[in-house]
């Protein structure tokens, strides 16, 4: 919370409309890496940790997933009730099967979510996340996307963002605060 607040204050006027909605006010409908439908109401009463990415991403996404896996290891069984989700910003390539392959490389508590482009756009809007396709030579493309990890209380309230590459000494206590 402090990091985000300080950052916004320093760079631009406070804009609370940029904070993610409470989970209960979100309206996306996505599919997890095992093909099951997931909606915001399914997360009611559970602490939630969400980040956006895509499996074709060579650096940021595996790094974030490695970090998250280490945080979860540190938290141990305390994090078993935590919903941990990667929402793909590249649903064209990230099918549930592709996501299943990908998340199997990391902590088993991490789920992958994807869906039709308009549902991914809805999720991004609900979380106040930005993403855009960047075309590269040869027909390939990559995605720019918000890199932070969002934390929510069991009651659905947004708590804070863990910035990309935030020190584990700060990240783990932040997560721990959402668990109680």
């Amino acid at each position: 919370m402090l990091g985000v607040g300080a950052y916004r204050t320093r760079n631009r006027p406070a804009r609370n409309e940029l904070l993610p909605l409470p989970i209960g006010e979100m309206s996306w409908a996505l599919t997890d890496h095992q093909g099951r439908s997931v909606r915001p109401k399914d997360w009611a009463g559970r602490p939630v940790m969400v980040f956006f990415g895509f499996t074709w991403c060579p650096d940021v996404c595996p790094t974030t997933l490695s970090d998250i896996s280490l945080w979860l290891e540190d938290l141990g069984a305390d994090a078993n009730r935590l919903i941990v989700a990667l929402i793909s910003v590249d649903p064209e390539r990230d099918t549930p099967v592709v996501l299943a392959d990908y998340v199997s490389n990391f902590d088993p508590r991490i789920i992958g979510l994807t869906g039709p482009a308009e549902e991914v756009a809805q999720a991004a809007a609900d979380f106040r996340v930005t993403y855009r396709r960047v075309d590269k030579d040869g027909g390939d493309y990559t995605m720019d996307h918000t890199a932070g990890v969002f934390l929510f209380h069991p009651d659905g309230r947004f708590v804070s963002i863990i910035d990309f590459h935030e020190d584990r000494r700060f990240a783990v206590p932040k997560i721990r605060r959402t668990l109680s």
Partner: protein
């Protein structure tokens, strides 16, 4: 050509943990070369390395080449206003007396058009081209997709 032969000899003689070996060219020391396993050959691979310039002349990494990928490029992960993007880096400065890391979340080689999927435990050569020192080839260890770096006794991280 000498560098190539040296690199070839290294590849033949080295066994495990080649990421922990050091190759020098002029005033430059190149070490901790590693990559991450990929799921299939369709996704790009990544290349990380540490370069130390012990000399008094600034240098720069201007390109990479490898038989493992058709289109290897230098990139930098930049996070601006919370949004991560990955612009192409034309060159990566290696200033005199300093170390530069290609590491997760910063500068990295992006290996597009992989010849084969990169599997944990594999290794492949990457040739680094420097502005002033010429070319040097290092052998790159493929670690797990989850790895954060090679486990070397002397590694700085």
């Amino acid at each position: 050509m000498n560098h190539f032969l040296l690199a070839a000899a290294l590849i033949l003689s080295a066994s495990a943990a080649m990421a922990c070996e050091t190759v020098t060219i002029g005033d430059l020391t190149v070490e901790h070369a590693w990559s991450k396993a990929t799921i299939g050959a369709g996704r790009p691979g990544v290349f990380y390395v540490e370069i130390t310039n012990t000399g008094s002349t600034d240098n720069a990494l201007v390109g990479i080449a490898t038989p493992a990928a058709g289109m290897p490029m230098l990139h930098e992960t930049v996070v601006q206003d919370g949004i991560a993007s990955m612009p192409h880096a034309m060159s990566i400065p290696v200033p005199a007396g300093q170390s530069v890391q290609l590491s997760p979340g910063g500068y990295h080689g992006m290996l597009m058009g992989l010849t084969n999927a990169l599997k944990e435990g594999d290794s492949f050569p990457v040739t680094l081209s420097f502005e002033k020192a010429g070319e040097v080839t290092v052998n790159v260890d493929v670690l797990s997709l989850r790895a954060e770096g090679p486990d070397c006794a002397d590694a700085g991280q």
